[in-house]
């Protein structure tokens, strides 16, 4: 069982610090996804583990041995690049066997390993071809094959699917997950696509500006984001944010006023709100966290547009004060553009954030425990 331990990793370019003391422990055969907006440091973090960037502080250890001083090929990691990075002058078989050739492995052994990997990836018919004669999906499979052949302890993926079209991307997501289960190694996968993160990860690492914001399983992060950033980053459509005010605080109940509508929420047992009565806060409502109510009961709004997707209806509603929100309803709802509608946030689905954007401990019910 492999263990990857990262302690206080710091990366500086000159005076500019881009990674600020990151800690992360990964065990067994977890699939970890680094996600965040561009420039958040996720690729630099991955490249530091690969050895393509020298780190300025901290340690990276695999199975208790620090690897941050070792050459990339000595670390027991293999990487799949965004643009495949296949050698154009070598055949598929030569590409896949190149690392073994450099390591001095005998030709028959290389052939055995390359053939085994080609069989897993269904690349046997293409072994004699050059990368230029392959489709994007096939090239990506060769790039993955090149990593598999080295039998690494840690697989590193740097946005490997971003050059593929949507259909192929969905297909390759599943392929990569299946391969990961087969290989039984740690996989670290970098993406800016939160759908990839949600669908593939055992644990997601959300990053921003060189800091880790939160680490957890996709649903942990979706249901209990630690701050406004994580809440807004994960989930499609994005969470709706509305300004609100704390109007009452009594025992385990708090009352918020949101655009003139009063809502009572329960506070998590043993926790206390970090804000006082009268404080300005922000409320987060997922697109599926709205109830459509009778005229005059909730917030008045107007339908901007309703997208009929058959299985669900996505409606954009303009509330008072020029605030546009998104609502998802299961099933088919006939809503006309410009039609008046009254909405109320479901109290048990509400998120709240204090002035610093940190989550307020509001008790919530999720789809599974409803």
């Amino acid at each position: 069982m492999t263990e990857l331990k990262i302690d206080g990793l710091v990366k500086r370019y000159g005076d500019a610090e881009v990674l600020h003391g990151l800690d992360l422990d990964v065990e067994g055969n977890e699939f970890i996804v680094f996600v965040g907006p561009s420039g958040c440091g996720k690729s630099t973090f991955l490249r530091s583990i690969a050895g393509l960037e020298d780190i300025s502080g901290g340690t990276i250890a695999i199975d208790g041995t620090p690897i941050n001083g070792l050459e990339p090929d000595q670390r027991g990691v293999a990487m799949v690049f965004q643009n495949y990075a296949l050698y154009p002058h070598m055949t598929v078989a030569e590409n896949m066997g190149f690392a073994l050739k450099m390591a001095g492995v005998s030709k028959p052994d290389i052939a055995t390993k390359v053939n085994a990997a080609a069989e897993i990836l269904k690349l046997e018919p293409y072994l004699g071809r050059r990368p230029a004669d392959l489709s994007g999906g096939q090239r990506q499979r060769v790039a993955i094959g090149r990593a598999i052949v080295r039998a690494p302890k840690v697989f590193l993926f740097d946005e490997p699917l971003s050059n593929l079209d949507a259909d192929l991307r969905a297909h390759m997501r599943l392929e990569i997950i299946k391969l990961h289960r087969q290989q039984g190694a740690i996989s670290i996968y970098v993406t800016h696509d939160q759908v990839e993160a949600m669908t593939m990860a055992d644990r997601i690492v959300v990053m921003r500006d060189g800091y880790i914001e939160q680490v957890g399983s996709p649903l942990e992060l979706y249901n209990n984001p630690v701050n406004r950033f994580v809440a807004g980053f994960l989930g499609t459509p994005k969470m709706n944010f509305l300004p609100a005010r704390v109007t009452g605080l009594r025992d385990a109940t708090a009352t918020f006023e949101i655009l003139g509508t009063s809502i009572a929420v329960e506070i998590v047992d043993g926790e206390a709100l970090s804000v006082a009565e009268g404080a300005e806060i922000e409320i987060g409502i997922r697109a599926d966290g709205w109830d459509v109510v009778a005229e005059g009961e909730g917030m008045a709004g107007q339908v901007v547009h309703a997208e009929q997707l058959g299985r669900e209806t996505v409606t954009f509603v303009m509330l008072e004060g020029d605030t546009q929100v998104t609502m998802i309803q299961t099933g088919q709802h006939q809503l006309k553009d410009g039609e008046a509608i009254w909405l109320k946030p479901a109290a048990a689905r509400l998120h709240g954030f204090d002035g610093n954007g940190l989550s307020l401990p509001i008790a919530r019910q999720h789809a599974t425990d409803a």
């Binding site: 690969a50 050895g51 990487m79 296949l86 050698y87 690392a99």
Partner: protein, 281 residues
């Protein structure tokens, strides 16, 4: 609407294409006619040459080539091959390594060094002919192959390094990073990944330098004074004096002298055009 656009556009484009073809045909004739005249002249007898210089040879006399070859062209030819071959090899090897180091390694004064190399490109050989002569003389290199090879290599390097620099600068770094993960140090990366993918630029650097070195006259005149080490351009002059009355012989020598460059260009045309079209890519 697209139909009207194409009818109005078409004659304009066609006119331009006509003009360009006309220019290219004229230019080709300018080069090819004298060349044909040289080859045809070599196949004539001396008398034919004077009585009917424009006509085709009545009875092609291939023996002229053998006579010219045996009469000294052979020695000049091999001197040229040695001097050009070694100079070009030195230039290709050194400029590739220098450009790679300049684009990939981090060392002090790297930019300054590159600027100095660009500056060297601006210095014409004529300006430093005398110091070069003195240097070669002090080192005892006059009338030796090395006496031409070293200055040729030195003067070929700046432009070659600049060409290679721009090529390596845009070389995909991901490929080299993949090679790092595959266990390649800088030398292996250069040898297994970068150089095999740099064939077009290597070939065009080689041909560029080959053309100018093969034809170089000025430095060769002052460095190579004894006939046994002289290169083809000097040999042809000597031939002119020696064969003042034997035109076919001289034309045969010129033909033999032009063949290697033609052959090199035909053999590597693909790379040459590709790298020229991409301005050194």
């Amino acid at each position: 609407m697209s139909a009207t656009t194409s009818t109005t556009m078409f004659p304009k484009t066609r006119k331009l294409a006509w003009l360009m073809h006309l220019f290219l045909i004229g230019y080709s004739l300018l080069i090819l006619l004298p060349l044909t005249w040289v080859v045809m002249g070599a196949l004539k007898t001396n008398r034919e040459m004077f009585t009917d210089p424009i006509a085709l040879p009545k009875d092609p006399n291939w023996g002229t080539f053998i006579t010219a070859w045996d009469d000294g062209v052979r020695d000049y030819f091999f001197n040229s091959v040695i001097v050009s071959g070694f100079s070009v090899a030195l230039i290709v090897v050194i400029s590739a390594m220098a450009a790679y180091a300049l684009t990939r390694l981090n060392f002090p004064f790297r930019r300054g060094l590159y600027l100095i190399i660009i500056l060297c490109f601006a210095i014409p050989m004529h300006a430093v002919l005398v110091p070069i002569y003195v240097l070669l003389s002090d080192f005892g290199l006059l009338n030796t192959h090395a006496g031409l090879i070293l200055p040729y290599a030195a003067f070929g390097l700046p432009f070659s390094i600049i060409l290679m620099y721009s090529f390596f600068y845009e070389f995909p770094t991901e490929l080299e990073e993949a090679a790092k993960l595959d266990g390649c140090g800088p030398w292996r990366r250069l040898w297994h990944v970068v150089l095999p993918l740099s064939k077009p630029i290597l070939v065009s650097v080689a041909i560029f330098n080959l053309v100018s070195i093969w034809n170089e006259f000025l430095l060769a005149t002052i460095v190579m004074t004894s006939p046994e080490v002289q290169t083809l351009p000097l040999g042809l002059v000597r031939f002119r004096d020696q064969y003042a009355t034997n035109w076919p012989g001289m034309l045969a020598a010129i033909t033999i002298g032009s063949l290697p460059l033609l052959a090199a260009f035909v053999a590597f045309q693909k790379y040459f055009i590709r790298s020229m079209a991409g301005m050194g890519k």
